[in-house]
């Protein structure tokens, strides 16, 4: 071993190989199938794990250096935000409701991603694939924790955030994101990585973290935009990993192609359904708007996703089955979703409201084909009712789709005035779905989806009351009992924004005792 060898500077690629791939070995005291027991049962065939490459070629020295710098910048902003009561600088207290949905619905998924990538970061047979997944695992923990630290300051002053953990595991609309991630994590490692790295990170997180976060900046929330963009810079590494993983699986064996196609069909739809919540955050919940859901979907869904699927065509991969339907629905999604939450505003743990006149005009301009015709009259009607002191609250419980767990409010792709219902029979029971694609997902794996913990079913079965509550006493109020079981601060976490404690405090802290937004 001469000194020349060490003096010659190794290139990034060569150095990376020594620092990663070189670490692994074929075990002999225990068979490889026992050391990596989970990578064979899904039917995916991998012939050569060394063909997998991390395009960023990150090693721990660089990882610590750059991530450490990112954290230093981020926490400087979080600290300054807390010290200067930055929460009072947001455009309007309605904005804060997006953060409630964020910590209730999104941050817990970051945590799940952490644990899920720890699992595949242990289980994949290939060394570089494992390392990339491991880095993603700790990145995702970073996202969960930085979100806690950012939202912590808001939680001190506003309602709807204090019991996010308890809520995420119980509340009706939060079973949408929860079941999404539980679905991915309970699948095999290859399906998990296709679902999360690819369908979720590559195709969908841009929609959440790019236009929405730009919206947070526009609404004066520098702490959130900073964690959002800082997280997304990790996500761009994860997206690149997602693309690499998919190419790798497809190139390893032609038999993998149909399996992956089925996963893409499924996970595109699963992810898209979760984005229903994001669509209404963008169109209805950001007081100052950057871009409509429809525009965001066109840029990040249709154009960017389209480019990707054009590229994958060479492997025999086509666009996911639900692609066209998502395009049709872009004119409807946010309006139908927000209407539903407005309806169930007594049972939602953030505030709801009807859009202001200016906002209605913005929506008309952004949705010329649908808003005035289908949705404006609805909001105007509710607005009128509220003015008369009869703010509409739907006191019943919605039927949920067994797959995506969203209330059945989506309309037929061909008729926006008709609710879409689909059903399947399985072992003598009937199961209901919001769409053909959710039904397909169930029909392929009914034994999985019959396990779903459907919040409304659970309520009707009496599983969502506090111990000792007796539903048979006269005057029993089931909604109130469920909200107690949710640990809701009744009257503070729920109901309309108008008249809420958040609204009053925000105004008072601004020295505006008259109240009003």
């Amino acid at each position: 071993m001469d000194m020349e060898a060490s003096k010659k500077k190794l290139g990034l690629k060569e150095r990376y190989n020594h620092l990663t791939r070189g670490l692994g070995w074929e075990t002999t005291y225990q068979p490889m199938e026992k050391v990596f027991p989970y990578t064979r049962y899904e039917g995916i065939k991998i012939h050569d794990w060394d063909k997998w490459e991390d395009p960023f070629r990150l090693t721990m020295d660089a990882y610590w250096k750059y991530q450490g710098e990112k954290e230093k910048k981020l926490y400087a902003i979080i600290d300054a935000f807390a010290q200067n009561n930055g929460h009072l600088g947001v455009s309007d207290a309605r904005y804060i409701n997006t953060l409630k949905l964020f910590i209730q619905g999104v941050s817990p998924l970051e945590y799940m991603a952490h644990r899920g990538f720890a699992h595949v970061g242990r289980q994949f047979d290939g060394v570089s694939a494992r390392i990339a997944c491991q880095m993603q695992s700790v990145d995702e923990l970073r996202h969960a924790q930085t979100q806690m630290h950012t939202v912590s300051n808001y939680n001190k002053y506003y309602n709807g955030m204090h019991s996010w953990r308890h809520w995420h595991d119980r509340v009706w609309y939060l079973s949408v994101p929860k079941s999404f991630f539980d679905d991915a994590m309970s699948a095999g490692p290859f399906e998990f990585v296709v679902a999360i790295s690819f369908a979720f990170e590559y195709v969908l997180t841009n929609l959440l973290f790019v236009p929405f976060m730009s919206g947070a900046a526009y609404n004066g929330d520098m702490a959130t935009v900073t964690f959002g963009f800082s997280a997304q810079s990790d996500e761009s590494r994860h997206m690149t990993l997602g693309l690499e993983i998919i190419k790798f699986i497809l190139e390893q064996d032609p038999g993998n192609v149909p399996i992956v196609q089925r996963w893409l069909d499924k996970w595109f739809w699963r992810g898209y359904k979760v984005l229903t919540l994001v669509s209404m955050m963008m169109d209805y919940m950001l007081p100052k708007k950057v871009m409509s859901w429809k525009e965001a979907w066109e840029i990040y869904g249709e154009q960017n996703g389209g480019a990707l699927f054009n590229d994958l065509a060479r492997y025999g991969i086509r666009k996911p089955k639900g692609w066209e339907q998502a395009s049709i629905e872009k004119d409807h999604l946010s309006h139908q979703a927000w209407s539903t939450f407005y309806n169930y505003g007594a049972a939602a743990l953030f505030h709801t409201w009807t859009p202001t006149d200016g906002e209605k005009d913005w929506l008309s301009a952004k949705y010329p084909d649908t808003f005035d015709k289908l949705y404006r009259p609805r909001f105007e009607h509710w607005e009128q009712q509220a003015k008369e002191g009869k703010r509409f609250y739907n006191g019943t419980l919605p039927m949920l789709c067994t797959t995506c767990q969203i209330p059945m409010f989506f309309t037929e792709p061909t008729d926006p005035t008709k609710i879409c219902y689909r059903e399947s029979d399985y072992k003598g029971d009937k199961y209901h779905f919001c769409s053909d694609h959710c039904k397909d997902i169930f029909d392929y794996e009914p034994e999985k989806y019959v396990q779903s913990w459907l919040p409304v079913h659970q309520i009707y079965q009496g599983n969502c009351f506090n111990p000792g509550v007796d539903p048979t006493v006269p005057g029993f109020d089931p909604l109130r009992a469920v909200l107690d079981y949710y640990h809701t601060n009744f009257g503070r976490d729920n109901f309309d924004f108008e008249g809420s404690e958040d609204q009053k405090n925000f105004a008072r802290w601004h020295g505006d005792d008259a109240g009003g937004a």
């Binding site: 910048k73 730009s214 997206m239």
Partner: protein, 89 residues
């Protein structure tokens, strides 16, 4: 035709990187939104280390772009001298 894109946080550190990209990729178009600059380019976009170094007067490691990167799309290929995003491989 497919577009690739890359977006950076709108701040002082990103400025030379964005300038370098716009100069090295004549087809690139940048759009500014609150707190963010997004650069789109058809099919392919290159970030060259030397172009950035000539603007900042010090050596630059391409991995540094991660500090202000928000998102990107396309296949990524990185070596010591340049980072390429493309749809054609």
């Amino acid at each position: 035709m497919s577009k690739v894109f890359i977006a950076f946080q709108a701040n002082e550190d990103s400025r030379p990187v964005i300038e370098a990209i716009l100069e090295d990729n004549p087809d690139a178009v940048s759009t500014t939104s609150p707190a963010m600059v997004k650069i789109d380019c058809k099919d392919r976009l290159v970030i060259r280390r030397e172009s950035i170094e000539s603007r900042i007067g010090r050596s630059f490691d391409l991995q540094e772009i991660q500090l202000n990167l928000i998102t990107l799309t396309g296949h990524l290929d990185e070596d010591d001298d340049q980072l390429t995003l493309s749809w054609k491989r």
